[in-house]
């Protein structure tokens, strides 16, 4: 702990490197998505072809969102096992970032859905599970903020993070048995949904790069958020030491 304290007081080289790398990757991703990637050939209107490009961010954000919730699930198990601040900090940081990306998923999805499906919102499985996931982890943050005792907060959050994440695949299966109009983009074998399109190699490359860029971006945000969480924790500890000395 003391070594960590000393390090966090110094200049944060790792954070800087991560930030620069993810910045460069995001700019490259933007270029690839907006300029480099060819328009989807089988889409009818210009608007459809143009909004299709939102996919590169939409899929990246969806991946990061669910991955972040998975990290919270794993960190919850880690916390219940080791009972260290690190795991709680990780779980909390990951939910906050995951929610941000999930919000982005819902917004970009709506932007894409309007010209393609002619509606802002439809109760397709993936949309519905994203919305439910979003609500669930809003609940996670509300639960955290409603508990004062830090140990209990960490414990309950771990339990809820675990239960919520386990419910995600079951939720998804249940919702999937409704009619699915969402295009299965990456696993294109069962592309029965409307608004699907064929991916050219350059498009696939762009998509993969954007997913990678978002993942690095997630890692960077996580790093900074956890560093902030650790600083908060240290301040809290110092305050307690002064108050109850």
């Amino acid at each position: 702990m003391s070594a960590g304290t000393a390090r966090s007081a110094q200049r944060d080289t790792l954070g800087l490197v991560l930030t620069v790398i993810s910045g460069l990757m995001m700019i490259t991703g933007l270029y690839l998505a907006l300029v480099f990637a060819p328009p989807a050939m089988n889409l009818q209107t210009a608007v459809e072809r143009f909004t299709q490009r939102v996919l590169y961010f939409h899929v990246g954000a969806a991946w990061v969102g669910f991955f972040a919730f998975f990290i919270t699930f794993a960190a919850g198990i880690g916390y219940l096992w080791r009972r260290s601040f690190f795991w709680d900090n990780l779980a909390n940081a990951s939910v906050e970032i995951g929610l941000t990306f999930m919000t982005m998923v819902l917004v970009t999805g709506s932007i894409w859905a309007k010209p393609t499906w002619n509606t802002w919102w439809t109760w397709s499985p993936r949309l519905t599970i994203s919305a439910i996931g979003w609500l669930m982890y809003i609940g996670y943050l509300m639960l955290r903020s409603a508990i004062d005792n830090p140990a209990r907060r960490a414990r309950f959050a771990a339990v809820y993070g675990i239960v919520a994440f386990i419910s995600v695949p079951i939720n998804f299966m249940a919702i999937r048995w409704w009619r699915d109009i969402h295009p299965a983009v990456v696993a294109s074998s069962s592309s029965e949904g409307t608004g699907g399109f064929d991916m050219s190699p350059n498009m696939t490359m762009t998509l993969m790069f954007c997913i990678a860029a978002f993942t690095v971006f997630y890692g960077t945000l996580l790093y900074h958020r956890m560093r902030l969480g650790k600083t908060q924790h240290e301040v809290e500890t110092l305050k307690q030491e002064v108050l109850y000395r």
Binding site: I132, M136, M142, L143, V159, V163, I170, M173, A174, W177
Partner: protein
Amino acid sequence: MPQNLSSSISSDSVIAHRPPQFSYLRKVGAIAGKDIAAELRTKEMMSAMFVFSLLVIFIFNFAFDLRTDNANTLAPGVLWVAIAFAGMLGLGRSFITERDRGSLEGLLLAPVDRSAIYFGKFLGNVLFISVVEVVILPLFIVFFNQPLDIIVPLSGVVVLGTIGFAGVGTLFSAMVIHTRARDVLLPIMLFPVVVPVLLSAVRLTAGILDKLPFEDVQNWLGLLVAFDLIFLAVSYMMFEYVVEE
């Protein structure tokens, strides 16, 4: 006044206890039993749950202008919203009664595995919700003009749905009593997680009302049973972390 208390401390047997045959099950039953005994004395919660579920049915009637020709489309949803909301009332109270006089501490002091407390409270909750359902189901048949013989399969679905709902609900109920804003937090935490229960219960109910062949709805039955088993197991494992200090 108390005179000779020492006489109650028999020197030969310090602790008088029965050999622990079925002791665990007896304790699960004792916990559910005392909840029922307390409720029979006041009947506060049951009557609130019952009136509330009736109100839900009435409000849906006004909101959707229920008629015999659209009853089958809307009735399953109305039934399950009524059960879910009434159940939420009961679940919310479940651990609050343990908190008022610190009796949760009394339960935790008893020489029994924590899971017995979970199963005892779970059993009590299932029974409370079931009693409300026993009254609601005939009324449901009356209001929606359904044949009487659906009551048998419908009861099966209702029991399975209630188990899933109360299984997670009991775990979360034990969590929210330690939070601020506990009344609002329980539905926020619980509803997203039990979406599969509500979905499959509604689908099964619709299947029964529409007299669909069993093959058409067996997916949903499988999903509901799977949910019940998985979340009873998860809640059983997590409960210990919720009640420890």
